[in-house]
């Protein structure tokens, strides 16, 4: 296969993209030429990394890092300006009684609430991310998806979390998925683009690896596991496969892409396992909110509770942490 580029070959991303995205056949050839993923082996590796024991100083460091990587999210039909303002206040000061707790990385809302969020976090350094492109199913026309994106960007979103067309992907129409991502990336302007693969619907790790490369080739700044609306969401092995993909993509093209597991990360233990996975797969170059995010909401209070336990040696009840 001419277009196959072995990992480690330093080739510019644009050359690679032009080569492989010239037709559906070329794209298919490239994606199916990537090394396969053996499920048993990937599951075993993720499970083994899940046994790492992170204690004392390492745990404290991991908790603060995890807090700073959270994309605090509300994506409900019942979201209101008041709900969004309350969440933003929490994002800026996660623990009001403890000012040395870092702020989270971003808040994530629907496009129509972006303006509200932008106002609420102004000056804090917390980014505003918006889902777009007929989230969560992505079942609409490209025009609607582009307009949806433009709406979010015009309202001041720093980041756009798009969904790929899983139907097209599963039907083998990789070019359609690719071109949509390219179009949304253009509509983003300077906003960062996170591409949601919805790995629970892609089902196989081979698909996860192919969709990761497809999203990266098309210009995504981040690849994200899930919408949070489909189970399973951000499992350890899926995140592992995506971390391998960004690692290999950097080696091949010189361009670094971030990873965001989202959905199902509820406890400090879950979050720390993710950081261990990053550390031992992509490497510590990804252990920064610019390159790794945790899409979650409930995990934040558990992180705060564990942090306080580390400081005081005691657990306090859930009523000592704010519910926003």
């Amino acid at each position: 296969m001419d277009s196959f580029v072995r990992v480690g070959d330093a080739r510019g991303v644009s050359t690679l993209t032009t080569d492989v995205a010239s037709s559906n056949a070329a794209l298919r050839g490239f994606l199916h030429g990537l090394p396969g993923v053996d499920k048993v082996g990937a599951d075993a590796r993720a499970a083994m990394l899940g046994t790492r024991s992170i204690k004392t100083t390492a745990k404290r460091q991991a908790i603060d890092l995890a807090i700073s990587m959270v994309d605090l999210t509300t994506l409900e039909g019942a979201d209101t300006p008041g709900k969004v303002r309350a969440m933003c206040a929490k994002a800026v000061h996660p623990d009001p009684s403890n000012p040395d707790v870092p702020r989270v990385a971003a808040v994530c809302v629907y496009p129509d609430l972006v303006a509200e969020a932008v106002q609420a976090v102004r000056g804090s350094g917390v980014k505003v991310a918006s889902v777009a492109t007929a989230f969560p199913s992505g079942r609409s026309s490209l025009e609607v998806k582009v307009t949806d994106t433009a709406l979010a960007v015009a309202a001041g979103a720093d980041e756009v979390d798009m969904v790929i067309d899983r139907g097209a992907f599963l039907a083998g129409d990789y070019l359609k998925v690719f071109e949509e991502i390219v179009a949304i990336k253009a509509a983003c302007g300077s906003a960062h683009l996170k591409v949601i693969l919805e790995t629970g619907e892609l089902a196989t790790y081979d698909n996860v690896r192919r969709a990761s490369w497809l999203a990266m080739l098309a210009g995504g700044d981040f690849i994200k596991t899930s919408t949070g609306k489909v189970q399973p969401a951000a499992t350890l092995p899926v995140t592992l496969v995506m971390l391998e993909a960004v690692r290999d993509f950097l080696a091949t093209t010189g361009r670094k892409v971030g990873v965001k597991p989202a959905g199902g990360i509820r406890t400090t233990k879950d979050a720390i396992k993710m950081l261990v996975l990053v550390n031992e797969t992509a490497g510590d170059g990804w252990l920064h909110p610019d390159w790794f995010r945790l899409g979650a909401s409930s995990v934040l209070n558990d992180l705060l509770m564990q942090r306080q336990k580390q400081d005081t040696g005691r657990y306090s009840g859930p009523d000592y942490f704010t519910l926003d």
């Binding site: 480690g8 090394p35 790492r52 204690k55």
Partner: protein
């Protein structure tokens, strides 16, 4: 940036006595040989004094086993099973204690003794407990042989004990077992477990000591069956000494396994499999994948990934829960690994190890890869029994099989491909007792294990494992 703080497993769960006797006829007794010490290979600290069994002590143990055989062999299988089930459950209950003791005495990481050795040990007793009342369906006869003399190595002290004792007892035999001289402690704790399980006296006897004690066990005229796991060199001596005696013998000896990676393999998992194949248990594994045969078309890419992965291996305190590579078991083994590795360099292979801090005390050898290895190099032919991988390349499936089989050994092999037809074609042609595909070093009590050629004869594990203990 993300340094894991030390996470040591507590030593408090084990209570190591200053000295240990032999376990004969259900009791701990003094040995008449001169006692020796067992040390922690990660720190060289002395753990305990161990009694050495003389030929006279071994004779007492064999007599005790012979006496116990009368009642044990006559007991209904379902009754014997109860003892084995009880032992299995006690092992599970005391798993943490056994795992910590194993890591202290052997040097292997606690993650492996906790997550691999101990679960397999318990599973092996559970598995053979299930056979005890079903022997007539196994197809190897139902009569036990008598007294089994068993000699086991230091690489998986408790697991090898389980492989030997569980099937022997299930079939109605009694045993005299000699653990390795550098790793006797878990076998002696197992003796306590036999007491705790009310196993009748004499059914299991543990005699500690070095080669002479082992020879006394093997050569004792009243031993009906010899089971040995260890080096091919000692295996030859045993085969010679039991020839013509009428003793049944099984030998599980060395290996130089080929791990074949085809160009269409799932690369990230193949890298994990290579690491698990040769760096698991510091490479002290008879079935270790010590020869990597990689298809030349992906050799560069695979080696780059492998080297990157080796950079993340954590070597150090075996009791730290995050340690991947522990200590080499003994000074003698370390010297052997060094000698063969130096030989590899002299013969022209290229040596590589990741940057890795070596502790001041104890016996350590960094994970090492040799590239540019030819079939004619000693490091491609001799068992190193350490964390040293020899990398060879091949061009076609035929060449891969030819090189894989071109060894005096034949214990295990690995095949990595996403293509099932190629996998089966290859496995059919490999002369090795175990062939793993898209995995390596996976064990299950239901699966038989054993070698071709100089890797020994007889099978352990599974239904096949009963054959060695029945007539």
């Amino acid at each position: 940036m993300f340094e894991y703080a030390p996470a040591p497993e507590s030593r408090d769960v084990v209570d190591i006595k200053p000295s240990y006797g032999l376990f004969v006829n259900g009791e701990f007794v003094d040995g008449s040989g001169s006692a020796f010490k067992t040390i922690n290979p990660a720190s060289e600290e002395k753990l305990a004094e161990i009694a050495a069994a003389s030929a006279a002590d071994v004779d007492l143990a064999v007599q005790a086993a012979r006496k116990a055989f009368t009642t044990w062999s006559a007991m209904p299988g379902a009754e014997r099973a109860k003892y084995l089930f009880r032992i299995a459950r006690i092992i599970q209950e005391r798993a943490r204690e056994l795992a910590v003791l194993e890591s202290l005495d052997n040097g292997k990481p606690i993650r492996e003794s906790r997550d691999v050795d101990l679960p397999l040990v318990a599973a092996h007793f559970f598995y053979y407990a299930g056979w005890a009342d079903k022997l007539e369906y196994a197809g190897y006869g139902t009569r036990p042989l008598g007294v089994a003399g068993q000699v086991i190595p230091w690489n998986f002290p408790l697991l090898m004990l389980a492989w030997k004792i569980a099937p022997a007892l299930a079939c109605g035999n009694t045993v005299v077992l000699k653990p390795a001289e550098t790793t006797p402690l878990t076998a002696l704790l197992f003796a306590e477990i036999c007491q705790q399980a009310d196993l009748p006296p004499g059914v299991v006897n543990i005699v500690t000591g070095a080669g002479e004690t082992g020879a006394a066990v093997v050569n004792h005229p009243d031993v009906d069956k010899v089971a040995f796991t260890g080096s091919t060199e000692v295996g030859r001596l045993i085969a010679r000494s039991v020839a013509g005696t009428g003793k049944k013998v099984t030998l599980e000896l060395g290996g130089k396994a080929a791990n074949i990676v085809y160009e269409d393999a799932a690369l990230d998992q193949a890298v994990e499999g290579i690491v698990n194949g040769i760096f698991f248990n510091q490479g002290h594994v008879c079935c270790a994948g010590s020869r990597l045969l990689v298809q030349e078309s992906i050799a560069g890419e695979l080696l780059a990934s492998l080297k990157r992965r080796l950079g993340t291996l954590r070597m150090g305190d075996p009791l730290d829960k995050n340690t991947d590579i522990g200590a080499i078991n003994s000074a003698a083994q370390l010297a052997k690994i060094r000698e063969l590795s130096d030989m590899g360099e002299q013969e022209g292979a290229e040596r590589w190890s990741p940057a890795c801090a070596i502790p001041d005390r104890g016996f350590w050898f960094p994970p090492t890869i040799f590239t540019g290895v030819a079939q004619s190099h000693r490091i491609a032919r001799e068992e190193i029994f350490g964390p040293v991988l020899s990398v060879l390349t091949f061009r076609t499936p035929g060449e891969a099989v030819e090189k894989a089989n071109n060894t005096p050994f034949g214990l295990s092999a690995g095949v990595w491909t996403e293509k099932a037809s190629l996998m089966l074609w290859t496995a059919d042609r490999l002369r090795a007792g175990v062939v793993w595909s898209n995995t390596f070093n996976r064990f299950d009590p239901a699966s038989p294990f054993g070698g071709y050629k100089e890797s020994g004869y007889g099978r352990e594990g599974g239904r096949h494992g009963l054959e060695a203990y029945l007539r």
